[in-house]
Amino acid sequence: MDLMKGTIKVAALLVLLLPQWGQASGGAALPVQEWGFKGIFGKFDEAALKRGAKVAVGVCMNCHSLKYIKFDQMRAFGLPEAEIEAMAKDSGRSRKDRMLSVMDAVSAKETYGIEPPDLSLMTKARKGYEDYAYGILTGYLTDQESADIKKAMEDGKLSETERMEVAHVLHMDPRHEDKLKEAITKLEGGGNFNKYFPGHFLAMPQPMQDGAVEYGDGTKASLEQLSRDVVTFLAWAAEPTAEQRKGMGIGVMIYLLVFTAMLYAVKRRIWAKVH
C-alpha cells in the first residue's frame, strides 16, 4: 500500500499548507448564526416560517418578488388558507398567483437606480448564504452609531482614537484613513451604509426596524427576530424540497451502509481462497 501511504502524507501536508482556502469578500466577516434548519437533521421551525412569511409579504414584497413561489405553496408549513388569501389580497393578488412585488420593476428602477433582485434564491446566491442575508438586514447603522460617527467628525478631522472608533463602528480597516473618510462623506450624503455589504454602500435603504411587523403569536418583533424569521422563510423559499431531500438522504445512507457492508462480506468470502 505504498501509494496509500503517500496519499495520506500529501493529504496531511495539504491540510497544513492551505489553511486559508477561502477568500476575502470585501465586506466585514459575517455574523455567523445558528440555523436550526441546516445540517443533516435540521428541520424548519413552522412558527418561524409563518412569522417570516408575514415579514416577507409585509416588508420585502413592497419592492422584491419571490417569483418561483406561489402564495398557496405556503400551506406546506401550515399557514391556513384564509390567512394566505388575506396576504395575497394585501398585495392585490389571489392565492394561486406567484408572489410578485407590489411595485413594478420600472418604477423600482426609477426610485432606487436598480431593479430589486428576486428573493426566491437569495439564501443560495450569495457567499455566506443565510448569514449574508441576516447580516444585510441587521447590518445598517443604528441611530446611536450614526450619532457616534457624527460626533467624531464634528471638528472635521479624525483623531487617532476617533479613527479606531469609527473603523470599529463601520466594520472597516482602521489603517485606510482615506477609505474611512470617503465612507463618512458618502454616509453624510445620504448613502445607504451596510456593515456586511461588499463595498459597504448599496441601493437598498434600511428595509425594516424594530416592530416593522406585528406578530400574532406574541413574539417580540425586534429587528434581530424579524431578520431571523424572514431569512428562515427565504431559506425555505430557496428550496422547498430541502427537507424531503435530507429525509430521503438519511434512508439512502442507512441502506447503502448495510448493502456495502454485505458486499464487503461477500468480497472477503470470495477472495479468501486467493489470499
Binding site: 501509494l3 503517500g6 495539504l14 492551505l18 470585501g26 443560495k124 446566491a125 428550496e239 451502509l257 464487503y264
Partner: protein, 404 residues
C-alpha cells in the same frame, strides 16, 4: 429454455464466447489494489450522467430567456427533479475525482508504458472530451458563472493568430456569448457523452488487447498470476461502487451546493461582470497555468493557452519520456518522490487558480502570481525531470520480484 435460446443466438453471433473471454473469464492480475477500482467507477459515473442527463434534457429549455427558469422548474416542480439535477451537477465533480485518481494511478504504476501506449492515448482523449463536455454543461444553467465562465474561456480562442478573432465569432454564433451559444452548447453537451462512450469502448478494447497492468508493473503469467474477472473483480468493483455511492450521495443529499459557486444562482447578466470569475474546481490547476504566463507582453495570452493545453497534451508523450526499464514507481524511489511533488503541485496550482489573479500573501509581500508561475514551472519540470533521471540512469531501481 434459456440454454436453447442462447445456443440459437450463439450459432449466429457468438455472444456467450464474448462474455466468457472478455468478461467472466477475462484473466486479471490477482494483485490489483483498490486504486484499480476507479476505472470502473468512472464508467459507473458516466452511466449515471447519461441517465440523469437524459431526463434533465426532457425538462430543460436551451433558450437564453428560459434556461435559468427551466432549471428552477426542474428543482421545484418536476417530480424528483431536484434529485436529477443534484445527481448530475455533483456527478460532474465525482467524475473528475474518479478520472484524476485513475490517471494518477496510471502514472504511478507505469500503466502508460509499453505496450499500453494506445490504451493510454485513448484515455487522454477521453479526458479532453470530458473537459469539453463539463465546460459546456456548466454553461447550461445560464447563471452568472455560466455566462462569464463561457465568456472567459471562449475568449481564449481569440489568442490563435490570424483566424482567432473570427473563430470566436463562429464558435459563439455572435459577437458575444448569447442565445445561439447556449443553444449549440446544449446540443454539443448532449452529443459529447455518446462520443465519450464510444471512446470508452475503444479504451476497453485497447485494454483487453494488452491486459491490465498491476502494482508491480511486471508482466504476468496467465493462469498462475491471474484470476477470472468474475467473481473476483465483479465483487471488488461492486464493493467499490457501494463505498463510492456513500461519498457521492452524501454530497447530493446533504451538501448539494458544496461544489457550486453561489453566483450561479444569479441569472446571467451580460451587463454585470461578477467580482471574481472562477471556474469549476476540476479546471482550477489548468486555469492557474493559463494565468501564470503574464510576462510575455502581447504573446502572454497565446502562450498561456498553449501552456494550458500543453499541460494535458504532454500526457500523450509521457510513455516515451519515461525511459526506465522498470514500470512501477513501487521500485523507483526517485521517481516516486518526483511524483508526490507533482501531486502536491497540482493542489497548489488549484489553490492559486481559485484565488483572484491579483491576490497576495503576507500583506502584499508575496503576490500569488509568483507562486502560480513557480508551480507551473514545477508542473512541467516533473515531465522533464522524469525523463532526465531515467535517460541519464540517475535512478537505481530496486530489484523486481520474479512474479506477482
Amino acid at each position: 429454455m434459456f440454454k436453447s435460446i442462447m445456443e440459437w443466438v450463439d450459432a449466429r453471433l457468438p455472444v456467450s464466447d464474448l462474455i466468457k473471454s472478455q468478461a467472466t473469464e477475462y484473466p486479471t492480475p490477482k494483485n490489483l489494489n483498490y486504486w484499480w477500482n476507479f476505472g470502473s467507477l468512472a464508467l459507473f459515473v458516466l452511466i449515471v450522467m447519461l441517465a440523469t442527463g437524459l431526463f434533465l434534457a426532457m425538462h430543460y429549455k436551451p433558450d437564453a430567456n428560459l434556461a435559468f427558469d427551466s432549471v428552477e422548474h426542474i428543482m421545484r416542480d418536476v417530480n424528483f427533479g431536484w434529485l436529477l439535477r443534484y445527481l448530475h451537477a455533483n456527478g460532474a465533480t465525482f467524475f473528475f475525482v474518479c478520472v484524476y485518481i485513475h490517471i494518477l494511478r496510471g502514472m504511478y504504476y507505469g500503466s502508460h508504458r509499453s505496450p499500453r501506449e494506445i490504451l493510454w492515448w485513448f484515455g487522454v482523449i477521453i479526458f479532453f472530451a470530458l473537459m469539453g463536455t463539463a465546460f459546456m454543461g456548466y454553461v447550461l444553467p445560464w447563471g452568472q458563472m455560466s455566462y462569464w465562465g463561457a465568456a472567459v474561456i471562449t475568449n481564449l480562442v481569440s489568442a490563435i493568430p490570424v483566424v482567432g478573432e473570427e473563430l470566436v465569432v463562429w464558435i459563439l454564433g455572435g459577437f458575444s456569448v448569447g442565445d445561439p451559444t447556449l443553444n449549440r452548447f446544449f446540443v454539443l453537451h448532449f452529443l459529447f457523452p455518446f462520443v465519450v462512450f464510444g471512446l470508452v469502448i475503444l479504451h476497453m478494447w485497447a485494454l483487453h488487447a494488452v491486459h491490465s497492468n498491476n502494482p508491480d508493473g511486471i508482466d504476468v503469467h496467465e493462469g498462475k498470476d491471474t484470476l477470472p474477472f468474475h467473481p473476483y473483480y465483479t465483487i471488488k468493483d461492486l464493493y467499490g461502487v457501494g463505498v463510492f455511492l456513500m461519498v457521492y450521495l452524501a454530497f447530493v443529499f446533504f451538501a448539494p451546493n458544496f461544489f457550486l459557486e453561489p453566483d450561479n444562482y444569479i441569472p446571467a447578466d451580460p451587463m454585470k461582470t461578477p467580482a471574481h470569475i472562477v471556474p469549476e474546481w476540476y479546471f482550477l490547476p489548468f486555469y492557474a497555468i493559463l494565468r501564470s504566463i503574464d510576462f510575455l507582453g502581447s504573446f502572454s495570452k497565446l502562450a498561456g493557452v498553449v501552456a494550458m493545453g500543453g499541460a494535458i497534451a504532454i500526457l500523450f508523450i509521457l510513455p516515451w519520456l519515461d525511459r526506465s526499464p522498470v514500470r512501477s514507481f513501487r521500485y523507483r524511489p526517485l521517481s516516486r518522490q518526483l511524483f508526490w511533488v507533482f501531486v502536491l503541485d497540482c493542489f497548489v496550482l488549484g489553490w492559486v487558480g481559485y484565488n483572484p489573479a491579483d491576490a497576495t500573501l503576507f500583506d502584499g509581500a508575496l503576490p500569488l502570481i509568483v507562486i502560480g508561475r513557480t508551480a507551473t514551472a514545477v508542473y512541467f519540470s516533473y515531465f522533464v525531470g522524469l525523463w532526465l533521471v531515467t535517460v541519464l540512469k540517475i535512478e537505481k531501481p530496486k530489484p523486481l520480484p520474479k512474479s506477482i
